[in-house]
C-alpha cells in the first residue's frame, strides 16, 4: 500500500510554504515520530513528523521548493499502514528580549500627528509567499519577461516566477501589471506576490545607481511580509504618536529586589518583563486602548496579549505573551526567554506570533532615545520604548538627577484617540514609577 504524504498546514491560514529540507531520502525506513522534513513559512521553520511506518518510496517535491500548496503530495511512503503527517514544532531553549534601561521625569502628553518610521513588528504568514532567489543569484526570467518588465519599470526581483524552476515568465509580469502595477520610483519594490496591489519600482539603474556598485540581498518570505504589512499599515491606518518621559529608578530598585529573591537564572526578571507586565496592567485599566478596529465595530479584547518585537537574523518577529495581565512576573520572564530563543531560531509556531492585542518595541539597548513604531495591525496601539538614561530633572525648584526613559505610543486613531492614548500612558507611567501598584 502506497500512501502519499501531504504538505501539512502549519496554521489555519497557511496556504503554502517552502519545503526547506528533507531529512530522509528515498529508500529510508521511516517510523512513527521520525522527523522527515522541515517546512518553512515566512516566519518559522517547522518539522514534519511521520505518523506511520514505511519506506520512503519517492520524494515528489524537491528540497528548496517554494510555494508548495497545502495538501500537495510531497512524498510517497510504502508500507502496510496508511500514514499521515503531522507538523510538530521543535522548540529550542535560551534567553529573551533585550531590556531597556531606567530613570524618572515627566512630560505631559499631547496628541500630535507626525509620521515617524522605524522598525516595527510584523506578524502573520502571508498566503502568497513569494519564492526567493537563491543567494542573490541573477533572477531567472525569460527574455520576453525581462524586456517587458524593463519597459514597464517592474523590478523582476519583486515577482514570483511561475515558470519551470521558478523562472519569471511573461504571464508573471502581466499579472503584476494587472495587479495595479503603477510604476513607482524607489529601489527594490517591497512588493510581495499575491494580495495587495504590487508596488512597482524603477530599477536602481533607472534611478542612476550603476549596476555592480552594490550587492543585492534577495527578499525572503519574512522580508516580503514585513515590507507588505508595514507598507499597508503605514499607508492605510491613520496613526499618531504620543510621547511621555517616565522615571525608572523605582522600577530598577524593585527589579533588584525581585531578582535578589531568586537564585534561578530562568526566574530573573528584566526591565522589559516589567514593562510587559505594566503595559498589560495598564491595558486592563484603560480597556479602550486594548482594542482593534474592524468594519463591524471596535473590538475590545478581554485580555492583554502582548506582542514583543524581537530582532532576529534577517528581520524581526513578534512573539506573544498571552494573557500577560493574568501572569506573574516570573512566568512572563520565563516565557519571554523561551519565546525569544525560539524566535531567533525561527522555530516559533504560528499561533505564538499571530494575533496579539498590543505590541511593544524596545530599542533602549541601542541607546535610542525616542521613536515611533508602525502599528501592527489589527492592534490599536504599539509602544516604542527608548533608552533609560540619567537625565537632569526638575524637582520643585531644584535640579535633580533621575533615570528617565521616553516612551511613544503610536495609536490607530480609528480606535484610540488622543485622550484615550494619554490616559493609557498616564496609567502606564504610574505603574512604572510605582511598580508595587502592579501587584495589587
Amino acid at each position: 500500500m502506497t500512501t502519499e504524504i501531504l504538505m501539512p498546514a502549519l496554521s489555519p491560514t497557511m496556504e503554502e510554504g517552502t519545503l526547506a529540507r528533507w531529512l530522509v531520502k528515498v529508500g529510508d525506513a521511516v517510523k512513527s515520530g521520525d522527523v522527515i522534513a522541515e517546512i518553512e513559512t515566512d516566519k518559522a521553520t517547522m518539522e514534519v513528523e511521520a505518523v506511520d511506518e514505511g519506506t520512503l518510496e519517492a520524494i515528489l517535491v524537491p528540497e528548496g521548493a517554494e510555494g508548495v500548496k497545502v495538501n500537495t503530495p510531497i512524498a510517497r511512503l510504502s508500507g502496510e499502514v496508511s500514514s499521515a503527517m503531522s507538523p510538530s514544532v521543535s522548540p529550542v531553549p535560551e534567553v529573551a528580549t533585550p531590556p531597556a534601561t531606567p530613570a524618572p521625569v515627566q512630560t505631559p502628553p499631547a496628541p500630535a500627528i507626525s509620521p515617524a518610521r522605524d522598525q516595527a513588528p510584523t506578524p502573520a504568514p502571508t498566503s502568497g509567499t513569494a519564492p526567493t532567489r537563491e543567494g542573490g543569484a541573477r533572477v531567472a526570467a525569460s527574455p520576453l519577461a525581462r524586456r517587458v518588465a524593463a519597459r514597464e519599470g517592474i523590478a523582476l526581483e519583486s515577482l514570483t516566477g511561475s515558470g519551470p524552476h521558478g523562472r519569471v515568465v511573461l504571464r508573471d509580469v502581466e499579472a503584476a501589471l494587472a495587479a495595479g502595477g503603477a510604476r513607482v520610483a524607489g529601489g527594490k519594490a517591497p512588493a510581495s506576490a499575491a494580495a495587495a496591489p504590487v508596488r512597482q519600482s524603477l530599477s536602481l539603474e533607472q534611478m542612476g545607481i550603476a549596476p555592480g556598485s552594490y550587492d543585492l540581498v534577495p527578499l525572503d518570505g519574512m522580508k516580503k511580509t514585513i515590507a507588505r504589512r508595514m507598507t499597508e499599515s503605514f499607508r492605510d491606518v491613520p496613526h499618531f504618536p504620543l510621547t511621555l518621559d517616565i522615571e525608572l529608578d523605582a522600577l530598577l530598585a524593585a527589579r533588584a529586589q525581585i531578582n535578589a529573591l531568586s537564585e534561578a537564572p530562568e526566574n530573573k526578571v528584566s526591565v522589559n518583563d516589567l514593562i510587559i507586565k505594566a503595559a498589560a496592567t495598564a491595558l486592563i485599566r484603560v480597556p479602550e486602548a486594548n482594542a482593534s478596529f474592524t468594519d463591524a465595530g471596535i473590538a475590545r479584547h478581554h485580555h492583554a496579549d502582548i506582542a514583543v518585537a524581537v530582532a532576529i537574523d534577517g528581520g524581526l518577529i513578534t512573539p506573544i505573551v498571552r494573557g500577560a495581565d493574568l501572569k506573574s512576573l516570573t512566568v512572563i520572564a520565563r516565557e519571554m526567554k523561551d519565546l525569544g530563543a525560539r524566535a531567533r531560531a525561527r522555530k516559533l509556531k504560528p499561533e505564538e506570533y499571530q494575533g496579539g492585542t498590543f505590541s511593544i518595541s524596545n530599542l533602549g539597548m541601542f541607546g535610542i532615545k525616542s521613536f515611533a513604531s508602525i502599528l501592527n495591525e489589527p492592534q490599536g496601539c504599539i509602544l516604542s520604548v527608548g533608552a533609560g538614561e540619567k537625565r537632569a530633572v526638575v524637582r520643585g525648584e531644584a535640579l535633580a538627577i533621575a533615570t528617565v526613559m521616553s516612551v511613544t505610543l503610536t495609536c490607530d486613531h480609528r480606535v484610540v484617540d488622543g485622550a484615550i492614548g494619554a490616559r493609557w500612558l498616564t496609567a502606564f507611567k504610574a505603574l512604572i514609577e510605582a511598580p508595587i501598584a502592579m501587584f495589587v
Partner: protein, 470 residues
C-alpha cells in the same frame, strides 16, 4: 462478472493521448489500466500520422524520378507496385503498434482489449468493458481519462458518406487495391492535402475541393496561396470557395456537383476522398448518463483536462481542436501529472501544425490575420528558400519562411513555413516561443551553414529589415 478491478487510473483509448498518459502514469507510480477497442497506438499510429508518412515517402521517391535529369542521373524505365507501397505502410504501422505494446508492458499498464463504457460510480465513473474475447469486466479507479479520439466527419445531406469502395475516408484511402486514374479530394485541411499530394505523386489526376476561399484554411493566407501555386505546378487542380452540393456514384466512378460563385459545376472522377473534418468518438461511452458537458461535439475540459464529472478527464481529439497527435500527448502528460499532484502550472504551449505534402507546410503561433484581428501590431519577416545555398544545392528551392514579431515587445508571435523539410524545422520556432525568446535571441543564435534552417534566421532578421543574403 466478478468483483471490480481497482486501479489508480483507467484510460479509455490507446491512441497517442492514451498511451502517453499510461506511460507517464507508470513513471509516476500509478496503477494504470488502458482500454483499447482496436489496436494500440490508435488512429495516429495505425491509420493516420504514421502510415500516411510511409505512403508519402513512397510517393516522394517515385516523383523524384521526374527530376533525376536535373541531378545528372538517369534510370531506365519507372514503375511502382501499389500493393507493395500499401504493404510497406501497413508494416510500418504494425511495427510501431508492437512498440506501444512493449511500452505498456515496460510501464506496467494493464492493457484491456474491448469496448468501454462509463457507468456512474462513487468518486469517479466506473468503466465497464465488453471484452474482445467475450465477457465483461468492471473496472474502478479514482480517476478516468477519456482519450477515445475522433473519426472522419460525414455529411449525409451532401452525399458525403463513405462507402469504402468509391467514396473513401482517410482509412479507405490508405489501403486501396490500386491507384485510381482520377480522384476528388473534398476538404483541403492537412489530411486532404496529404492524400492529394500522395496520389498526385503517383500520377493520379487529383482535384481538391475546398468550401472556404483558400486551401489549408488554418494556415497563414500567404502560405496558403504559395502552397496552392506550388501544388498547381505539380499538376494538382483546385476548386476553392466551392460547396459540394451532392456527391454521388456514377456508372464507373463518382460525380460531385459543386457550386462556386453562383455557378454549378460537375466534377467526375473514379474515386473521392472525404476529408471535411472529424467528429469526436463519444457514442456508446455512456456520457449521456453521466451528464458530461459537451460543446460542439467535444468534451468541455479545464486547463488540466478535468471535465464536469468528478474524477473524469478528457484529452486529445475528444477534448476539442486542434486535432493533432502531439496536442493529445502534451495534454496527456499534464493531465496525468495533475492527477498525481505533481503538475506545475499549465503553460499554454504553442502547438505546431504540420502538413507532409510536397512541399511541406509547418507553422506555429498566430497567422498574420489572427494577429491583426487580435489587435497586435506585428513586424513581418519573409525569406525565400530560392536564395538559400543548401536549398539550391539540394534542388529544393520552393517555398518561404515567414515570421511575425510583436512590434512592441519583440516576442515571436508566429512562424509559417513552406518548403522541403520544414516540418522538421518548426520545432526551432516552437522552442523559441516556449522559452519566450525575442528577436534578439533568435538573431544571436548561430544557425549552421549550409542548412535550410538558415532561412529561419534570415526570416527573423528580415522582420527587422536586416536580412543578410537578399
Amino acid at each position: 462478472m466478478s468483483a471490480p478491478d481497482t486501479f489508480d487510473l483507467i484510460i479509455l483509448g490507446a491512441g497517442p493521448g492514451g498511451y502517453v498518459a499510461a506511460i507517464r502514469a507508470g513513471q509516476l507510480g500509478l496503477k494504470t489500466a488502458i482500454v483499447e477497442r482496436e489496436a494500440l497506438g490508435g488512429i495516429c499510429l495505425n491509420w493516420g500520422c504514421i502510415p500516411t508518412k510511409a505512403l508519402l515517402r513512397s510517393g516522394e521517391v517515385y516523383e523524384a524520378l521526374d527530376h533525376l535529369g536535373e541531378y545528372g542521373v538517369s534510370v531506365q524505365g519507372r514503375a511502382y507496385d501499389f500493393e507493395a507501397v500499401v504493404q510497406r505502410s501497413r508494416k510500418v504501422a504494425q511495427q510501431l503498434s508492437a512498440g506501444v505494446a512493449f511500452l505498456m508492458k515496460k510501464h506496467k499498464a494493464s492493457v484491456i482489449e474491448g469496448v468501454a463504457s462509463l457507468v456512474k460510480g462513487a468518486s469517479a465513473p466506473q468503466v465497464k468493458v465488453a471484452l474482445k474475447g467475450g465477457g465483461e469486466r468492471l473496472l474502478t479507479a479514482r480517476n478516468v481519462i477519456l482519450a477515445t479520439g475522433a473519426r472522419a466527419r460525414e455529411i449525409p445531406a451532401a452525399g458525403l458518406v463513405a462507402d469504402g469502395e468509391r467514396i473513401w475516408t482517410y482509412r479507405d484511402a490508405m489501403v486501396p487495391k490500386a491507384t485510381p486514374k482520377s480522384l476528388l479530394v473534398i476538404g483541403s485541411g492537412a489530411i486532404g492535402i496529404e492524400f492529394a499530394s500522395f496520389y498526385r505523386a503517383l500520377g493520379v489526376e487529383v482535384t481538391v475541393i475546398e468550401a472556404l476561399p483558400r486551401i489549408l484554411p488554418q494556415e497563414d493566407a500567404e502560405i496558403s496561396a504559395a502552397a496552392q501555386a506550388a501544388f498547381e505546378k505539380r499538376g494538382l487542380a483546385f476548386r476553392v470557395g466551392a460547396n459540394v452540393k451532392k456527391l454521388s456514384r456514377t456508372g464507373g466512378g463518382v460525380a460531385a456537383e459543386i457550386e462556386r460563385e453562383g455557378k454549378t459545376e460537375r466534377l467526375e472522377a473514379e474515386r473521392a476522398i472525404i476529408a471535411v473534418g472529424i467528429v469526436a468518438n463519444l457514442e456508446g461511452v455512456g456520457v449521456e448518463a453521466l451528464g458530461l458537458a459537451c460543446e460542439r461535439g467535444h468534451v468541455v475540459v479545464d486547463a488540466h483536462g478535468a471535465t464536469n464529472v468528478p474524477g473524469l478527464y478528457a484529452i486529445g481529439d475528444v477534448a476539442g481542436p486542434p486535432w493533432l497527435a502531439h496536442k493529445a500527448m502534451h495534454e496527456a502528460v499534464h493531465c496525468v501529472e495533475h492527477i498525481a499532484g505533481v503538475a506545475g502550472p499549465r503553460t499554454p504551449a504553442p502547438i505546431p501544425s504540420c502538413t507532409y505534402s510536397t512541399p511541406q507546410i509547418a507553422s506555429v503561433g498566430l497567422t498574420e490575420d489572427q494577429a491583426k484581428a487580435a489587435g497586435r501590431k506585428v513586424r513581418v519577416g519573409r525569406f525565400p528558400f530560392r536564395v538559400n545555398g543548401k536549398a539550391i544545392a539540394a534542388g529544393e528551392t520552393t517555398g518561404l519562411v515567414k515570421t511575425l514579431f510583436d512590434a512592441e515587445t519583440g516576442a515571436l508571435v508566429g512562424a509559417h513555413m513552406l518548403g522541403a523539410e520544414v516540418t522538421e524545422m518548426i520545432q526551432g520556432f516552437a522552442l523559441a516561443m516556449t522559452l519566450e525568446a525575442t528577436e534578439a535571441e533568435i538573431f544571436a543564435t548561430v544557425f549552421p551553414h549550409p542548412t535550410l534552417s538558415e532561412v529561419m534566421h534570415e526570416a527573423a532578421l528580415a522582420a527587422y529589415d536586416r536580412p543578410l543574403h537578399i
